[in-house]
Amino acid sequence: MSIAPAPRSFRSDAPADAAAARSEDYLWTLNFGPQHPATHTTLRLVLKLDGERVVDAMPEMGYLHSGFEKIGEHLTYNQYVTVTDRMNYISPMANNVAWHHAVEKLLGIDLTPRCRSIRTIIAELARISDHLLSNGAVGLDTGAFTFFLYAFYQREVIYDIFETLCGARFTNSWTRVGGVSHDFTPLVIEKIRTFVKTFPKTLNDMERLLTRNRIFVDRTKGVGVLSKDEAINGGATGPVARASGVTRDLRKDEPYLAYEDFDFQICCASAGDCYARYLVRMAEMRESLKIVAQAIENIPPGQVNVGIDQRTALPTKQQVYSTIEGTISHFELSMSNRGFEVPCGESYGATEAPNGELGFYLVGDGSDRAYRARCRPPSVLHFALFPQLIRGHTLSDVVAVLGSLNIIAAELDR
């Protein structure tokens, strides 16, 4: 078996006959990836070039397809959260929150106020972490190595918070059906408060490096323009769509968790080019920090997991040892042939992940494993938009556009 050859035809611009093909002899085909520093892990682009100008591009994916959706049919709802970590691996907490949001919607569970609040805080920290790496990668690909190192250092601070919370730097698998595995401790709250105080200064430093930097602006302004209609028709969501003028953000349009209680704005731009996407992500980081700053001072007290009567989250040890309902509930949830009841129905639950609308379409069949766990990844549709963004630009713009779309190969291929 050899590497898959270039596709037989480049779709819309493929010359239909031999004469037209001969007249296009001057075009040459360049294979970009799947191993290339600028492809964020395993993507492949087959470019048709006229000198340095890109005439057409054919993206190829599948170089990281691991069968996540088939695994979803064999693992329970609480086991599958470990697999969702490995999808958008630069913000795993956001994927955990999204998966359990979808599962709790299928089961019809309402979370406690405390759980909603702390999941919101962690989801926003994950959003900051994702945007830091995404913009850092754009900086790295266009040559700004210092910006990348600053971004990575801030991500280490966020990793430290996650490690204090649940023991793992990333791939945390922190949420459970009906609650979370580890509640906030005073040390975690203190670390988040410190982060809230020190992050704006670093963000200002980073902006000073790049936002009005002539080289960066020249490389990204006007490059890879996506119009509003193209964005909607192509299914783009998240910062990519918001940078083109689509004012859709699930945190405001279909509020979930505790977003209704906080005061923040959604960030949009109208230009739709790489520079606009960069600015939208920088602005979103500030808004996320605003949410975290408000939320961390107002965490409701009380239980974090849902009560025993819901029969989904494990009861506390006091309840197990002192009440009969606690004992029964613990037994039912721990035994492998019991688990909790799931309705025979289908539902779709979506959250606003840092990359866009991350949703899970779940089909329940009564057992504690999903019959079908379909993940709707935002990166697939963004990657499919790539050819229309890059036509007419040069080879060096390919790198800038690919970075600004923030395509994560694991989410793309699943």
Partner: protein
């Protein structure tokens, strides 16, 4: 409190007016329209005219091992409206031996790759799709992995490669 999605009774009324009474279910606040396969394209383009401009997802469920299933494959189209924030699910059932559906790529460009993936993983043919070939599996792969009769560990394709040792490299 989970947010209740905006009501879509007006949209459903226009659908009933044009296509007759179609089966629909509501579960967890989400309306799901079940459309017979010959009418799927018309219903979806009607819904697009009614303002559902965002195609969120196209996916498929293989009901081979589901209790009470009548047809094997259920295609799921998730639509949303960016202006009114309404959502609707459209389900189309097709069956073996030759599952075929008309492609909605002319309506939404987003369907291009989503339908390619359904073809790749389930084997459902989309008539009218400009470039229906495999998306995530290698081109030489022959089976459709997400079908229920395909085993999780595969049938040996994953290790069918030459071995490179120190002497050869």
């Amino acid at each position: 409190m989970p947010h209740d999605p905006p009501a879509i009774d007006d949209v459903l009324a226009t659908v009933t007016e044009r296509f007759g009474a179609l089966e629909s279910t509501v579960f967890r606040g989400q309306t799901s329209l079940i459309v017979p396969e010959p009418q799927s394209f018309e219903v979806l383009s009607h819904l697009k005219e009614q303002g559902f401009d965002l195609l969120v997802d196209v996916s498929c469920v293989d009901y081979l091992e589901y209790r009470g299933a009548k047809q094997r494959y259920g295609l799921v189209y998730l639509l949303a409206s960016t202006t009114t924030n309404q959502r609707i699910t459209v389900r189309v059932f097709v069956d073996d031996p030759e599952p075929r559906v008309r492609s909605v790529e002319p309506l939404w460009r987003a369907a291009d790759w989503l339908e390619r993936e359904v073809w790749d993983l389930f084997g459902i043919h989309f008539a009218g799709h400009p470039d229906l070939r495999r998306l995530v599996m290698p081109e030489e792969f022959t089976a459709h992995p997400l079908r229920k009769d395909y085993p999780l560990q595969g049938r040996g394709e994953r290790h069918n490669f030459p071995v490179i040792t120190r002497d050869h490299s």
